[in-house]
């Protein structure tokens, strides 16, 4: 009897998870998921400025908490108990669902394991490793979507998907799509992670006839989804297995031909896919929070991919088709003759920086590789104390993922008010006394504006040639940017090459300034 009393509150709130009739339409539950979705929208809205962003992140956490608690309450684990005396709630007196605290414990442990792993990683990761961390996280969302899809397939009753003795055709299409997109996200992200973290070479792997193989596999996935939707309950198993395997395979095939330099686009694209996977699962479960989130994340990733493509002047199709960076060496190599350039020392640079009124620093990924950002910030502080106006100019592809360079500068406590995007600062070079280029190359190459045969032609670049003086920190004259083209900026009259390791050079300038 005590157990029955204990069960009573759950009877009111929860439709037993086993209800074969489908999800009970409890307006409060639907409302809770809607509120959770709204919090997710507010979370992204908060990112419109750094001052509101922390509140935004908290909104995101609240939204997630609401979604999880709502699900835990409405789908509290239950066990079926046979032969109970008839009562008002159970007229047939044959069975009752009692709360299953053991299963609840398992769920709690699962969450705790994930929380410990997640928080540990989040605390330890270096900011330069953000791209691979994000790729790794995307793979987890993808795999989770596959698991949820499969769980829904194996136990449609729990998800309220049973129509007669099988799953409804529409639900099966949604389920198939969710599993397929999830699997593509997973295997694609694993490859992106391997390439970004250097566990796998960044150079493209080109299979013969890869476009045909990829299109064929994609077509097969679509046909299988249709067959899966139309098949009778007993014949669906082989179809969904093949579907899952093919989807894992295509994710792998889609990403291996894409070169390391295009990874910012790939990471954004996989971000988008992880959203669509969540949305597809949201359709299967009829869950508003999942659908809203999926749509938000899907559009977010798509927009970021678009921004990255535009910044490199590449079409999305050409990135996806892959192979960029494979034919290198045919371009710039043979035409390079030794041209005269001026070389300077840290003392020269320090002297001229001190005299300047306005300095614009252009950091590239080379700066982050050399870990020069902290020394650079120190240099900025000293110059500002001397009354020099210092600004940072960031190209959208400066880092290895969208906004990566901004995070690296923020980590070095560079004030975000001093950091500007390409289109906001490009007109200021004409008034700048010094353009200070550190670890960047292609993003200042004027060939992008003038040379139609250049592989980077059309890419928006900084007009550093308009500055009175250009300092170019570079390890040696030998190396070129990833596009493999020579840079006219090296040989301009007003350019002084500072040939050294970026961190060492900046430290020497700091010393000379003191």
């Amino acid at each position: 009897m005590r157990r029955l009393l204990l069960a009573a509150p759950f009877m009111v709130l929860a439709t037993p998870a086993h209800a074969a009739t489908g999800e009970a339409v409890n307006p409060w539950v639907a409302l809770a998921y809607l509120v959770s979705g709204v919090f997710f929208i507010l979370a992204l809205r908060g990112l419109s400025s750094p001052s509101t962003s922390r509140t935004g992140n908290r909104f995101g956490m609240i939204g997630m908490l609401i979604a999880v608690i709502t699900t835990l309450v409405t789908h509290f684990p239950t066990v079926r108990e046979e032969k109970i005396v008839p009562g008002p709630n159970f007229p047939d007196g044959s069975a009752i669902y009692l709360p299953d605290f053991a299963s609840f414990g398992e769920i709690f442990v699962a969450i705790a394991i994930g929380a410990i792993i997640g928080i540990t990683i989040a605390r330890r990761i270096a900011m330069t490793q953000m791209p691979e961390l994000v790729a790794a996280f995307h793979s987890l969302v993808g795999l989770a979507a596959v698991l949820v899809g499969w769980a829904a397939y194996l136990n449609p009753g729990a998800f309220g998907l049973l129509v007669g003795d099988g799953i409804g055709a529409v639900s099966k299409v949604e389920m198939g799509l969710g599993i397929a997109i999830g699997a593509i996200t997973f295997s694609g992200s694993v490859i992106a992670f391997a390439k970004l973290s250097g566990r796998m070479s960044g150079s493209p792997i080109l299979l013969p006839g890869r476009h045909l193989i990829n299109l064929g596999t994609l077509a097969a996935i679509i046909v299988l989804t249709a067959l899966f939707a139309m098949a009778g309950p007993s014949e669906t198993m082989p179809l969904i297995i093949v579907l899952t395997v093919l989807a894992f395979l295509i994710g792998f095939l889609l990403i291996i031909p894409i070169g390391g330099a295009d990874m910012p686009v790939v990471v954004s694209m996989l971000n988008s896919y992880s959203g669509w996977a969540a949305a597809a699962m949201g359709f299967t479960l009829g869950n508003t929070a999942m659908i809203i989130t999926g749509a938000l994340v899907g559009s977010s990733g798509a927009i970021l991919s678009y921004i990255m493509c535009r910044a490199m002047n590449r079409s999305f199709i050409s990135v996806i088709a892959g192979g960029f960076g494979a034919e290198d060496g045919a371009g710039g190599g043979e035409a390079r003759e030794a041209r005269p350039y001026k070389q300077g020392s840290a003392d020269d640079a320090a002297f001229m920086l001190e005299q300047a009124e306005k300095v614009i620093i252009i950091p590239g990924y080379g700066m982050a590789v050399a870990q020069a950002q902290h020394a650079l910030r120190e240099m900025t502080d000293i110059l500002e104390e001397k009354g020099v106006d210092v600004k940072f100019a960031i190209h959208p592809v400066a880092g290895r993922m969208p906004g990566h360079m901004n995070v690296l500068l923020a980590e070095a406590s560079v004030d975000y008010d001093k950091v500007f995007e390409l289109e906001d600062i490009n007109s200021e070079f004409a008034q700048a006394d010094v353009a200070f280029i550190i670890g960047a190359n292609d993003v200042v190459n004027p060939a992008a504006k003038t040379d139609k045969s250049s592989p980077i032609y059309g890419m928006p670049v900084f007009d550093v040639d308009k500055a009175k003086q250009v300092f170019f920190i570079k390890r040696s004259m030998g190396g070129v940017g990833y596009a493999g083209v020579d840079n006219d900026v090296f040989y301009m009259d007003q350019t002084m090459m500072l040939l050294s390791d970026a961190k060492k050079m900046v430290e020497e300038i700091v010393k000379a300034l003191d």
Partner: protein, 94 residues
């Protein structure tokens, strides 16, 4: 919920997403990716439902594994976003 209402929510949410994301400042695009990654793990809802139903053991275990994966993402994603956002501070005037 019927398919058309769900589809309506989805299409409208895509538009909301489009405008909200364009208003995100480019300086915060990395935190944007980290936080979208965390919220897309709302897929944990599906995993919780699967793990709560004991009648099909296979589905239950898939659900529990799904909960672990999604939790890594939720906690890791929000924590790393918070860590990044904490760095975006204005320098105090000395």
């Amino acid at each position: 919920m019927d398919f058309i209402s769900i589809l309506s929510i989805f299409v409208l949410a895509c538009f909301v997403g489009y405008y909200v994301v364009w208003s995100v400042t480019p300086a915060l695009h990395t935190p944007l990716m980290a936080v979208t990654n965390a919220i897309s793990s709302v897929i944990i809802v599906g995993a919780l439902i699967a793990a709560a139903a004991a009648d099909v053991p296979g589905a239950k275990w898939l659900g529990l594994l799904g909960i672990v994966l999604a939790s890594v993402n939720i906690f890791g994603g929000f924590a790393v976003t918070a860590r990044m956002l904490a760095m975006y501070k204005k320098k105090e005037k000395k």
